[in-house]
């Protein structure tokens, strides 16, 4: 029986490779070995996206998908090298903030409304911000998959112990002074840190400072390419955070994994991180052994004048050379349509959906913790488009690290960052 099965499988595999259109797919999100094809059961970004891809591979007739290595860290370097070598994948994921760089050089295929419609994708169903995310110079260059943003992930038991819960919701600060007050209260009542985040490696610290600058109506550079980092707003934003380090109410030396672990161990009441960990935290909170039992996903609080939190979008694109081969292009569009179709499954990660029909659905509303941060879409912000945003973010990350890890004076770091970002904008 086993042999028969293997034989049949092999025969199927051979048959499908003969007729199927092969599509190579590039993505980050990390590896998931046994994702299966059940798009409703998988947990976490890596497994959910892979289950959708596997399902697409199984269900779209005449298309077979090969997923390329899924490493996060060097993703864009690899993709660029592939473009430069003339062998980009047929479809790949990217961030909204990279669109100016890639589309600006003609690397991405413009997708006409007709092409999208014939593949079964309806751009009219996308939210305005999602449509903006894939639009460059008036043309659509991709299919949006989500809106993701920074949240405050909260350990409700610690908050309750510190007296910071009201009507089942966490009481979050509304000013930098109140933040310090809450953090002191937390330390006194529980002995634990108030806030954890990756301030040491991954640019979560940058995104935090950006949010606090936007909340004061400022930005790190303007649309016309002038760096605006060396100002009072940036100083206030940075000091909102350094006041916690100064009193040992938060640890700047934790990296991504360690800050996450510290939150799960119940050693920090708040973790600042993106929407992508909501379902992971929900699953961890259900386990006995973690120090997190009562989890709440809160919107990023407004500490200054207006609400704002860092946000970005994952989008799927087709490289422009793929368009030269009609069959591959058509198959690639089918894959994008399949991913678009499964928007609600991807939203299970914690990301916000991009299709109005999904946002209004009961299935979406019933996802865990969803109502707790429903207002996030309204305060989502991003920097103005810049071709070398990767390098700009790196400058900010280094100078901010210099402040919290090596005690560089805030004014010096901001002045240095301003000079370097201006250099990058002028290049």
């Amino acid at each position: 029986m086993k042999h028969l099965l293997t034989g049949t499988l092999l025969a199927c595999a051979c048959a499908s490779t003969v007729t199927a259109q092969d599509i190579t797919l590039g993505r980050f999100f990390g590896a998931c070995e046994d994702a299966g094809t059940d798009t409703k059961a998988s947990v976490g970004e890596a497994c959910i996206i892979q289950s959708i891809i596997n399902a697409a591979d199984a269900e779209i007739e005449g298309v077979s998908i090969e997923t390329l290595p899924t490493d996060w860290g060097n993703y864009y370097d690899q993709i660029k090298a592939a473009y430069a070598g003339g062998t980009p994948p047929d479809v790949h994921v990217m961030h909204r903030h990279r669109v100016p760089e890639f589309a600006g050089f003609g690397a991405l295929a413009a997708l006409s409304e007709d092409d999208l419609a014939s593949a079964g994708i309806d751009p009219a169903d996308w939210t305005d911000s999602a449509r903006d995310a894939v639009t460059f110079n008036g043309e659509i260059y991709g299919v949006p998959m989500d809106l993701h943003a920074n949240l405050w992930h909260v350990n409700m038991d610690l908050m309750a112990e510190a007296g910071l819960v009201e009507n089942g919701e966490p009481v979050l600060p509304s000013s930098p002074e109140e933040l310090l007050e809450h953090a002191r209260q937390m330390k006194e009542a529980t002995g634990q840190d108030y806030l954890a985040a990756d301030f040491a490696q991954f640019p979560i610290g940058v995104r935090l400072v950006l949010s606090l600058m936007w909340q004061q109506g400022e930005n790190i550079f303007s649309e016309d390419g002038t760096a605006t980092i060396d100002n009072d707003a940036a100083q206030a934003a940075v000091e909102t955070i350094t006041q916690l380090f100064a009193e040992d109410l938060s640890d700047p030396q934790l990296n991504y994994a360690d800050s996450q672990q510290s939150f799960l161990n119940g050693e920090a009441a708040v973790l600042v991180n993106g929407t992508w960990v909501v379902d992971f935290h929900t699953a961890e909170a259900a386990k006995e052994e973690t120090g997190l039992d009562n989890y709440y996903a809160a919107e990023f609080p407004t500490l200054f004048e207006e609400g704002a939190t860092w946000a970005d979008s994952h989008i799927w694109v087709i490289p422009s050379p793929v368009k030269q081969d009609a069959e591959t292009y058509e198959a690639a569009l089918k894959v994008l349509a399949f991913i678009n179709e499964h928007n609600v499954d991807w939203a299970r990660t914690g990301h916000m959906a991009v299709r109005n029909s999904v946002l209004e659905s009961d299935e979406y509303a019933s996802l865990p913790h969803r109502t707790e941060y429903a207002g996030t879409a309204d305060i989502a912000r991003d920097t103005p488009p810049a071709e070398n945003y990767g390098a700009i973010q790196d400058v900010l990350n280094r100078e901010l690290q210099a402040i919290w890890l090596t005690d560089k004076p805030v004014a010096d770091a901001l002045a240095d960052a301003n000079i370097e970002v201006q250099d990058l904008l002028d290049r």
Binding site: G73, N74, Y76, D77, K80, A81, Y83, A84, G85, G86, E101, F102, F105, G106, A107, A200, Q201, Q253, L254, N255, A257, D258, Q261, S262, S320, N388, G390, A391, D394, N397, R398, E399, Q401, A402, L405, T406, K408, D416, I419, E420, D423, R427
Partner: protein, 365 residues
Amino acid sequence: MSNAKSPLQRLNETQSAYLLLLPFLLTYGLFLIYPFFRGVWISLHDWNLLQVAFNPDAKQFVGLDNYVRVMWGRNIEWSPWARPVLQVLGLLGVVASVALNRTRRLTSLTSVALGLAGAALFLISGVHAGEEGRWFDRRFWPTVGNTVLFVGLTVPGVTISALLIAAALNRETRAMSLLRTLFFLSQVLSVTVVTLIWQIMFSPRQGLIANITELAGGSPINWLTDERFAMAAIVIATIWWSLGIAMILFLAGLQDISKDLFEAGALDNCTGVRAFWHITLPNLKRTITLVIILQIILHFQVFGQSHLMTQGGPNDETQVLVRYIYQTAFRDSELGRASAMAVFLFVIMGAFSVVQFLVGREEND
């Protein structure tokens, strides 16, 4: 019959030598010489990786502009006391080389090398940005400095520990051969595995080192994100990783030393540490030089440890040259600028290869 030579047999010695060399020369030319000169050529252009891929005419010849932009700045000055510590060290090197040469404790070539290195240190570290001036690329020279520091810590670390281990394991028992294999094993791992192992070792939460410090009553160190320890952390991981080859070279060197020397020494009551100092070390001089120079060339190209363990942080403390080249080329798409840095790295490594060549020749004489 003797007239019926095949065309191959009619070749003279030189011709057949060239024929046999041809496959090597072709490969060498195609994969080393051509890419090298193409790299130099790219370094003379403003060359965006993505843009040129889609439009080959998008590159622009800029001459030496990339070199200036990377290595120079506005109002750059030289003064004898810009970095007193380094410059005094350089001067001391010059003085020492003269003194040691006078007293004939160093060969002329070694003292010239020491003198030149001292003078270079004195001159180079005196260059700084004057008032109102600044470097065009503020990261380049600190990055070079980090790379030199990394090499400066790793090479003696590897050399001394490999030498000690080799001396201890140079016995023909089963246990020793097992230990030799164990020490060599780390060498076969890839950089990904090595950095993964050490990231776990150094983790302040689950790490072995943190557990030991906690047992001893201390608070765990955030090795990879603390500016005082990050460089040490990648140096330790590198030493552990690259011990193997150096140890094997030393073992080979040790086995070349004649037993008679040790027997003669033992008669004069020269055993143990004294024998190591007076017999082993002098006889291993050539191996030590070889190991040091090979390690210098190897570790100037450090990339993975910094890229994977610390991402060059905190605050660029562990940013190294190859990682900067990589980021400039692939993250920032500035291929011309990256190639200029790569040419600079080539010059440094080339200089050390020349030193190795000179030292090797001197000892052959």
